[in-house]
Assembly symmetry: C2
Homo-oligomer: 230 residues x 2
């Protein structure tokens, strides 16, 4: 049996890990997936990502690559002969990087905060901010997709992976908070894109089921209510 | 007179703006520099960077590119025939992106906090963290430079620009707080690299003088003490 020289250290429900999985799938790269577990975790993280001690970590040969956006770009660079993930045009690439950073630094962190707060006033303010963010992302979708089905054009690309990977937790948040964030009236392009993305065969193989995420979320909330890590 | 089709909206003392200037200099691109001023500021920022309303903004033709790390990558991509800024090897590129994100998200923000706090206990803790960060960056320098003078090898590259651009404010902070952060004993490679980088002709043309930064810092501190923006 030939050992794969690509290993992904991750956890099935982590959207950042799912990004690496999606990129590997698009490039048809076989890899070993090591699902995060408490026994090996600390040792592996200290060995391969001592700076942040976080998953995902892609190990190619004996070289670790960390941080999901960097991993996706690395996969695109290192297996350059497969389908492209980043846009080929320099300006389109800059746009994709801009919106990816916006999603990770500004927009998506608020989704987690919304899911975990029970204060009504804070919820209202977060829902407002998230909706405004989705309007910006609708505009980004129009600019990037140029009338084609995906941010990446005819095929799933960088921004599809970046935003698409968080759709599961967005849906869980909508269910938990009983609010509709991704709205067909306000953001029609984005709403249709999300359906299209989630129905794609490659994506269905990788992204976790909403029911599994909901179940995990219940456990996380119970853990937090019990005081979290002491 | 032919109008340049490249404009940089910035401010002379901003390290993020200096990054764009360094990249443009390396690629020998002529451009118009619009130094940030309160009169035009709001209008320009709203027009070209409505999401973050921040400089630097590179305008190429009529297309704006925002966020310094994205701008430097864009300059490298769009003028691909000039000297390369990003490393050519996929793994080296991932490493450079990893450390650039570390500098911007984890390390450099603490330099600003250190400069602005007067609490001794907080200062001690920040100095400790910044020194640990410099030890990591020393290791990164050894790994990236592979015995050559720069992170980028024989020539100034991506990480040289990213870390080099903040050396001025690091020096100002050392003077203000009366501490040596970049230490020849603890981080010999990095200390020598910093001297080499700052003596480079291309860099000297772009980076502000320490005295000018010190003077500006005095004004900023006085402004903050007077209550800042009301």
């Amino acid at each position: 049996m030939e050992a794969s020289d690509v290993t992904l250290l991750g956890m099935w429900a982590c959207p950042y890990v799912n990004r690496a999985q999606l990129a590997l799938k698009i490039k048809s790269i076989t890899y070993e997936f090591i699902d995060d577990n408490p026994h090996e975790r600390r040792e592996m993280l200290l060995k391969y990502n001592p700076v942040h001690k976080k998953i995902p970590i892609l190990i190619h040969g004996d070289k670790p690559v960390c941080e999901s956006l960097i991993i996706v770009q690395y996969i695109d660079d290192a297996w350059a002969n497969g389908p492209s993930i980043l846009p080929s045009d320099a300006y389109d690439r800059a746009l994709a990087r801009f919106w990816a950073a916006y999603i990770d630094d500004k927009w998506y962190p608020l989704v987690k905060v919304l899911r975990q707060t029970e204060k009504q006033e804070e919820r209202t303010s977060l829902i407002q901010k998230l909706s405004e963010g989705l309007m910006l992302l609708e505009e980004a979708f129009v600019n990037c997709s140029k009338g084609k089905p995906y941010f990446g054009g005819d095929n799933i690309g960088y921004l599809d992976i970046v935003l698409g990977s968080v759709l599961g937790w967005l849906r869980v948040t909508e269910i938990v908070v009983e609010v509709q964030l991704l709205d067909e009236t306000k953001t029609p392009g984005l709403a249709k894109w999300a359906d299209r993305f989630c129905s794609d065969d490659a994506v269905k193989d990788v992204l976790p089921e909403i029911d599994s995420l909901l179940e995990l979320n219940k456990k996380i909330q119970a853990f937090i209510k019990a005081g979290g890590f002491k």
